[in-house]
């Protein structure tokens, strides 16, 4: 889907800013790529119908028009309010979202009583709407810095809320009202990333240079480190109580990466890994739910030998193996054998079986590109808050992909989590669109010509407001 960059420059490089275009805006590139993303998704949609019923689905055009309209609206919002944004972020998000809808639609054909594609499309629309709202209303990402403690309070509230709702499949991570269910923990990760970025950027100097030296590692003082470790402990503790270990792992990884980027202390990595190992061992041996997952990871075929048939992970591995190099083709696999959560946590198995190693590689490259563009924005920015925010948001996506893809492919123990954009799950899709919106905003700041008002040497002063 990667169109050559040169094609768009002619249409997009229109000097419009008051200070004149320093960097090309590349909005034309974005539009062309968006068109490609929508076309690929519509082709996938048609292919599913052709393979399954021998005919293009009757609503293929409507599906394409809907997805195209969403992409166009998002593009217009970016063109108007973030003209210098990275042109790859939005097309990748649209393509992944579109392919996710295709895969869910494909699985819907096997489960006539459980239709998930239409709700997913509704959630995607909501996500894009929220994307537009964020891009339009949030003029400067640094505004978020002032809401650091609001963010962390909201994050904790969102995480604690589901404890008062009944557990679903052993995890208390949903809140339900009416017919809708929502996973507040999904949204909490953005709030936490914002808080971490604000807190760390405000305390950069203290964190990096003060503190005791133990053996080869420089430790910060507890006065600085205390609050952050406390918040981390609370969030992880809440998640263990809710048994949503995937998200817990994600928060932990996010925290370690952002701390490392802020301070440059390899000691953080070491301590983080130690903590992770201790926590994993403790939870793995104490908590029966997780213990089962670890056992399943160590030997996915134990249930087959016990005569109980293949478990979910074994079925998932069968699906990937059936894909081979080129896959069976959309609509021709049997990943529905995975059963429960085939459309959400295990959506990647369908991609693996029907698109093959080739398709899976393409998906991973899309994620890598997305994460890479996020980091790119972080590198280009001057203000530490923006940098940390970009790094944090990009890392969320990378870690989430690793945790769930590694889980369903037997690389690490399986923990429930949504594959960004692909998987069924409203909260996840909406959250991911907000992540895209924030990255678009940050990348726009990174590439936009400097306004005359803010001097290049001044960002440090701006940050200090947040602390």
């Amino acid at each position: 889907m990667t169109a050559p960059r040169s094609t768009g420059t002619g249409t997009g490089a229109r000097p419009s800013g008051p200070a004149g275009g320093r960097a090309p805006k590349r909005r034309g590139v974005e539009l062309v790529l968006l068109l490609g993303a929508v076309l690929i998704s519509v082709c996938g949609y048609a292919e599913v119908g052709l393979a399954h019923d021998g005919a293009v689905p009757p609503d293929a055009a409507r599906y394409g028009a809907g997805l195209g309209l969403l992409a166009l609206l998002a593009h217009l919002a970016v063109r108007l309010r973030a003209p210098y944004a990275d042109p790859l972020l939005l097309p990748i998000a649209v393509l992944l979202n579109g392919l996710g809808l295709v895969l869910i639609y494909r699985l819907d054909l096997e489960t006539p009583r459980d239709q998930a594609a239409t709700p997913q499309l509704v959630w995607s629309t909501l996500g894009v709407a929220l994307f537009i709202v964020v891009v339009v209303l949030l003029r400067d990402h640094r505004a978020l810095q002032g809401y650091a403690y609001v963010c962390v309070a909201a994050a904790l509230a969102l995480m604690i809320l589901p404890i008062f709702f009944p557990a679903v499949n052993g995890a208390r991570i949903w809140i339900r009202f009416g017919g809708l269910s929502f996973q507040p923990g999904e949204f909490a990760k953005i709030l936490l990333a914002v808080f971490f970025a604000a807190y760390l950027s405000a305390n950069l100097g203290v964190l990096a240079y003060a503190g005791r030296r133990i053996w080869r590692f420089q430790f910060p003082t507890w006065r600085v480190l205390g609050p952050i470790v406390a918040i981390w402990l609370v969030s992880v503790g809440v998640l263990v109580l809710e048994r949503d270990l995937g998200t817990s792992l994600l928060f932990f990884g996010l925290f370690v990466i952002m701390l490392y980027v802020a301070t440059g202390r390899t000691g953080w990595i070491a301590i983080g890994l130690l903590l992770a190992a201790a926590g994993a061992f403790l939870i793995g041996s104490v908590e029966p739910h997780v213990h089962g997952r670890v056992q399943d990871w160590l030997d996915p075929y134990a249930s087959i030998r016990a005569g109980d048939g293949p478990g979910q992970l074994a079925q998932s591995l069968f699906a990937f193996a059936a894909g081979g190099f080129l896959g069976t083709g959309l609509g021709l696999g049997h990943s529905v054998l995975i059963g429960f959560a085939a459309k959400s946590d295990f959506i990647l198995a369908t991609a693996g079986e029907e698109l093959g190693l080739l398709g899976l590689t393409a998906l991973f490259l899309l994620y890598a590109l997305f994460v890479g563009r996020g980091y790119r924005a972080g590198l280009s920015l001057r203000d530490p808050f923006g940098r940390l925010l970009a790094v944090g948001l990009a890392s969320i996506v990378a870690l989430q992909v690793f945790v769930i893809a590694g889980g369903v492919m037997g690389l690490i123990p399986l923990t429930g989590m949504a594959m960004p954009f692909l998987a069924q799950g409203g909260s996840s899709v909406v959250t991911n669109w907000v992540i895209v919106a924030l990255l678009v905003r940050v990348s726009d700041s990174a590439r936009a010509p400097e306004p005359a008002a803010a001097g290049p040497g001044e960002p440090a002063r701006v940050e200090e407001r947040a602390g």
Binding site: A314, A321, T328, L357, F364, V371, L379, L411
Partner: protein, 525 residues
């Protein structure tokens, strides 16, 4: 901070690279192992996703497929299931396949590479060819005659075309409906346990896989050995065998059911089934000679396939003289499948040569193009042609005026041999009545059919006559149908012939050549 961001980015990309390496592990390195895991349903799903090819008798399918709407979509159905079950076997989603369903599974299921339009085509497209058809050598009329004749009694019938080795009928009784095993679920499991625990053993293929003591029917083998070894030079000359006959090295007396067996000729012994004469001849031939002769007929061969495997017919290789004497009249440890005994009859009919028996005439693609045709193949030369001609005459005499008169067919030359197999402790079990025979129309160049019938018959008295009593009429009915079909094919498809299967038509009329040429048996002066 730039440096740390770069490192963090590298870490993230490393994680994604690890995913990719792991994907290669699962999807390429371990894929074959995972695909082959018996718990992986993809194999069965693909296998039953399309209707199976058909098994044909006289060009008409005796099988079918039914859309079950289940995960394993197409289930096997059978027309006249019990009649053809010993030929087709079953194709079950739960219990696998047997017999022709098993032996030509690749063709029927569409996985045989020969069905693909181009080499490696299916591997590239990940597709599967439509299931091909398997045309059998079985003739419906002959099969039905045999099935009617057994009438549910325990027993089996095998009919062969002696020159070609085509199996014209393969019946085992009592039989079963293989369609009840096709699908999955508790009803199939219940049917399976009912069939497998039934005392009648309906799923046992008695024609191919059950061995019975052949009794006096084995005397043809002993006679062939005696003639080939030169122990008997004149079939009408008296032999030096006393009646009663004391088994060598023992005090045990071998009785005769027939009269006039003392020093009787070979001809008389076969005509009236003298135990004493044949036991004595077996001892005279000696262990080595008898073993060699039995093996030339196919005994002790574990490799015979038709294409399904056939149980080993047994003739012991180490025996004392008294055991050899008993073995030579088809007792002691000597056992044979009905197919083996049909081959004995066919060997005599086909001038000593046994054509390799086969059940699959040809296989085709779904479009009808031939994939493979089974050629006529010589199995073994069981005896010299001259011995065969002399035995033909002796077997004809047994039918014309002897134990086998119930096997006679008007308008045809029929040779036969009866047998009674006693079994069980102290011979208390229900005896098996045997009749092996061959028939040649008076105006035909070569015999049309060789047949072996074995039937467990509680009514029969334990005499050789019983073979003629309960088994011979079944053989006669089978031979009559085979002769009728033979006559139709020789006159170029008379009314009533089931057309559409030229390949199944018996041997051409042209000069057969070699030992196959049928000449009148030499008249001895």
């Amino acid at each position: 901070m730039i440096r740390y961001i770069r490192r963090a980015a590298a870490l993230c990309l490393l994680l994604l690279a690890a995913l990719l390496v792991n994907a290669v592990r699962v999807m390429v390195v371990e894929a074959g192992e995972l695909d082959a895991n018996p718990a992986n349903r993809r194999g069965p799903i693909a296998r039953w996703a399309e209707p199976r090819g058909e098994i044909l008798v006289d060009g008409e399918p005796v099988t079918g497929s039914r859309d079950s709407g289940q995960q394993l979509r197409w289930e096997r159905t059978y027309r006249k299931g019990p009649l053809y079950a010993p030929v087709t076997g079953y194709a079950s989603q739960t219990y696998g396949t047997t017999l022709v369903e098993n032996a030509r599974d690749g063709i029927l299921a569409g996985t045989d590479p020969a069905l693909a339009p181009l080499p490696l085509w299916n591997e590239l497209t990940r597709g599967r060819s439509p299931g091909g058809d398997v045309a059998t050598t079985v003739r419906a009329a002959v099969q039905e005659a045999a099935y009617r004749g057994l009438d549910g009694k325990r027993g089996a019938v095998v009919a062969l075309e002696p020159f070609s080795g085509r199996i014209l009928a393969l019946v085992s009784s009592p039989s079963y409906e293989p369609g009840v095993l096709s699908g999955t679920g508790p009803r199939v499991e219940e049917a399976w346990s009912r069939l497998t625990t039934s005392p009648n053993q309906p799923m046992l293929n008695r024609a191919l896989r059950q061995t019975y003591p052949p009794g006096s029917a084995f005397k043809i083998v002993t006679a062939a050995a005696a003639l080939d070894e030169g122990v008997v030079r004149d079939v009408d000359a008296p032999t030096d065998t006393p009646d009663p006959f004391v088994l060598p090295g023992t005090r045990q007396v071998l009785p005769n059911e027939a009269k006039g067996c003392a020093d009787a000729s070979l001809a008389y012994a076969l005509q009236w089934s003298c135990n004493t004469v044949m036991a004595g001849l077996g001892v005279d031939v000696g262990l080595d000679g008898m073993v060699a002769a039995a093996e030339r007929f196919g005994f002790d061969d574990t490799t015979l396939r038709v294409p399904s495997w056939v149980a080993k017919s047994n003739f012991d290789r180490r025996m004392s003289p008294d055991q050899l004497a008993l073995s030579s009249i088809g007792q002691f440890d000597t056992t044979a499948t009905p197919l083996q005994m049909a081959m004995v009859a066919a060997a005599v009919a086909n001038n000593g040569e046994i054509a390799r028996p086969y059940l699959v005439e040809r296989t085709t693609t779904a479009g009808g193009a031939t994939v493979e045709r089974t050629p006529r193949d010589r199995y073994r030369q069981a005896m010299s042609p001259s011995t065969a001609l002399r035995l033909q005459r002796l077997m004809v005499r047994a039918v014309e005026e002897g134990t086998g008169t119930n096997g006679a067919v008007p308008g045809a030359r029929v040779g036969g041999k009866t047998g009674t197999a006693q079994h069980g402790f102290g011979n208390t079990g229900t005896p098996y009545a045997w009749f092996i025979a061959w028939a040649q129309a008076d105006d035909a160049a070569r015999p049309a059919v060789a047949v072996a019938v074995v039937v467990e018959d509680a009514e029969a008295s334990r005499t050789d006559i019983s073979g003629g009593g309960s088994a011979a009429p079944i053989a006669r009915a089978v031979m009559e149908e085979a002769l009728r079909l033979d006559a139709e094919s020789r006159t170029g498809g008379a009314p009533g012939a089931r057309g559409g299967r030229p390949s199944a038509a018996p041997a051409p009329v042209g000069p057969p050549g070699g030992p196959g040429r049928s000449t009148p048996p030499p008249r001895r002066p």
